[in-house]
């Protein structure tokens, strides 16, 4: 939807649009984008109030994440663990303009694999507790994915996810964490580092196009669009750096999808000359072209669409196939379908 049309929307169109943005937790984000373009002033009062309320709540979530980073920093005071803040935490640390409207959900950090178990012990000593999980889920995290379950401090609401790798060890693609730490950038005034811009973007790329089921994940595409705009814009050299780093990590295929759908869905300005050597085949691309838009955008409750549900299910299977070998995947899918509910992993 062209933002300049926002002044012309009818009440009904606003009603539908805001229901969709509420559903995909994007109301604050849309408000931010309209404000940036100077289009907020001309909108009806009732619409402005919705954006205002969503922004207030989003700022609150950002505050909670900042405080969690503050408390984590305090807990790490007498240690020398290298910790990289990822995603929302990183965007807030860098004060990226879109960070406050993202409705950040939890805090993700990266530590070297060798430090992981001692890090977990330290967190527990300082009051963080692992989420109460079933035995199956504990095994999923520890034995299969080689991660620790999400942690949450006794006194607070924010979930802390400690990673040692950007992708599960069982996944077909691997990102070398040593390279990430080598290029990590310190943040002034903070104990945490952040990934270099290329790695930050690639993380967002694989987070969406490799590690997720894409279900109503349009918000992640919006993040990518913002990151590309902030770090690269139209600077040809920067794009070359991105391509080189992509090759270094072996992530051409997810980047291909990311650039393709950013262009298609959000009209992200990507230089025409950017070409990737390793692309998926024509049929795969065609398949993804038919599934991704159906899955990635939300549906209105009364317009639940059978095709979109099928697309989402297929992409859900895909995301697990990419993460786990078949011998783990099939029993996992069977178990999940019996347990029902909305799968989080």
């Amino acid at each position: 939807m062209n933002p300049d049309r926002s002044a012309d929307l009818s009440a009904e169109e606003w009603d539908r649009l805001l229901c969709l943005t509420d559903k995909s937790r994007l109301t604050a984000c849309l408000g931010y984008r309209l404000e940036k373009r100077g289009l907020m002033e001309g909108l009806p009062e009732a619409v402005k109030t919705r954006f205002q309320s969503a922004q207030i709540y989003s700022h609150y979530r950002s505050r909670l994440i900042r405080w969690e980073m503050n408390r984590l920093q305090r807990a790490l005071r007498e240690t020398d663990y290298q910790v990289i803040a990822l995603k929302g935490g990183a965007y807030l640390l860098l004060n990226l303009p879109f960070a406050e409207s993202r409705l950040a959900a939890d805090l993700d950090v990266l530590v070297p694999a060798s430090d992981l178990s001692m890090f977990e012990t330290l967190l527990r000593e300082k009051g963080w507790e692992p989420e109460k999980l079933s035995e199956y889920d504990q095994r999923y995290y520890r034995e299969w994915m080689h991660e620790i379950p999400p942690m949450r401090h006794r006194e607070r609401k924010i979930e802390l996810d400690v990673h040692h790798a950007l992708l599960p060890l069982t996944a077909k693609l691997r990102v070398n964490s040593d390279l990430l730490f080598e290029s990590a950038i310190p943040v002034e005034g903070s104990r945490f580092k952040v990934l270099c811009p290329e790695d930050m973007i690639l993380h967002a790329v694989i987070h969406l196009f490799y590690d997720s089921d894409l279900d109503t994940r349009i918000r992640d595409v919006l993040d990518l669009d913002e990151l590309l705009r902030i770090f690269y814009g139209t600077d040809q050299d920067s794009w070359v750096r991105l391509l080189e780093r992509t090759k270094q990590h072996g992530l051409e295929r997810p980047l291909f999808y990311a650039l393709r759908y950013c262009r298609q869905l959000l009209d992200t300005q990507i230089p025409e000359e950017i070409q990737l050597d390793k692309r998926p085949g024509g049929f795969t691309t065609f398949l993804m072209d038919s599934l991704v838009p159906k899955s990635i955008l939300p549906d209105l409750p009364e317009e639940k669409n059978r095709f979109n549900r099928l697309a989402r299910w297929l992409l859900y299977v895909r995301s697990h196939y990419l993460r786990m070998p078949l011998k783990l995947l099939i029993p996992h899918l069977i178990y999940k379908s019996f347990r029902g509910g909305n799968p989080s992993h």
């Binding site: 109030t49 209105l300 409750p301």
Partner: protein, 301 residues
């Protein structure tokens, strides 16, 4: 057009239609859809004065009072509350559709309307002066609020003090839920009391709702300015008395009383502080309504 002007079976038809029925209550528009047959009479009894809006319009809440699974329409029928498609609570028996709507909508307002500092308080107004009564268990706030409303006070709300950024309070004069003995107390208190159906055996005992007065609904777009914050406490054997409290005490009590104080952050503190500065704050103990009411009248005369 008002709810009370529409025949009940037509209300049922509108609620069942794809567009549902959109009500305007105070600053909010709520679109409701349901096939539940207990809901139209509940709506008509307790919301007769409220305007029904032309569909389509921009609504703040999209409520669907749905059946959990198809067979639950026939065997021990149940109803669930959905907002924007999300199921929010465990099912209720189908005949408790009314209370489920009220409680569900309360939760939606308390967790979404962050343009306001939302106090968990009753707010009433007379002679241009508003009184905020924060809610605590055992305060008897609802009974007191109901009696005041039936004695010439305007009801802004029994549940929500919607504090705007300019310090004013926006009305949302919805039905007042009464529990157990309060129901008969209020029924005996005034012949003007319009009380909806009884719902026995809820978590809070027997619940019934008192419709807001016409005066309250007519002025639902008119904000008010508070001059008093009164913390009521009902006790059967106490002397009726107003005792002033320190501002610092009142500030802490009001801040912890708000639903979304944390969400608003520094702005929440500013709005509470402004209220404390502009209002006189009291603890109020009482055992008899007939003693409480004249005292309140004296505050605003």
């Amino acid at each position: 057009m008002k709810i009370g002007e529409i025949p009940q079976n037509e209300i049922g038809i509108m609620l069942k239609s794809p567009r549902g029925l959109t009500l305007e209550v105070g600053p909010f528009k709520v679109r409701v859809k349901t096939r539940n047959n207990y809901f139209p009479p509940f709506l008509q009894k307790l919301y007769p004065q409220f305007p029904v809006l032309e569909c389509p319009s921009l609504s703040d809440f999209h409520v669907f009072l749905d059946t959990p699974v198809a067979w639950r329409r026939f065997i021990r029928p149940q109803v669930i509350f959905r907002e924007n498609g999300d199921k929010l609570f465990e099912p209720f028996p189908a005949n408790m559709c009314g209370p489920l709507f009220e409680w569900g909508w309360n939760w939606c307002i308390g967790t979404r309307a962050h343009q306001y500092l939302i106090l968990h308080s009753a707010v009433i107004e007379k002679n241009g002066i508003a009184v905020i009564m924060p809610a605590y268990p055992g305060s008897g706030k609802s009974t007191l609020c109901a009696a005041l409303m039936l004695s010439g006070w305007r009801l802004l709300s029994d549940e929500f003090g919607l504090i705007r950024c300019d310090g004013g309070i926006d009305p949302i004069p919805r039905p007042i839920p009464l529990k157990n003995q309060s129901i008969s107390v209020i029924r005996d208190f005034s012949t003007d009391a319009v009380i909806g159906p009884l719902f026995p055996k809820t978590r809070k005992g027997t619940v019934a709702h008192l419709a807001p007065t016409e005066r309250s609904v007519k002025q639902m777009k008119k904000p008010a300015t508070a001059a008093y914050i009164i913390f009521p406490k009902f006790h059967p054997k106490t002397v009726t008395a107003l005792k002033p409290v320190k501002s610092s005490y009142a500030l802490m009590k009001l801040a912890t009383n708000a639903f979304n104080y944390e969400v608003l952050g520094a702005e929440g503190f500013k709005r509470v502080a402004r209220l404390i500065r502009q209002c006189e704050c009291y603890n109020f103990s009482y055992s008899k309504l007939e003693e409480a009411l004249p005292l309140f009248d004296s505050l605003v005369s």
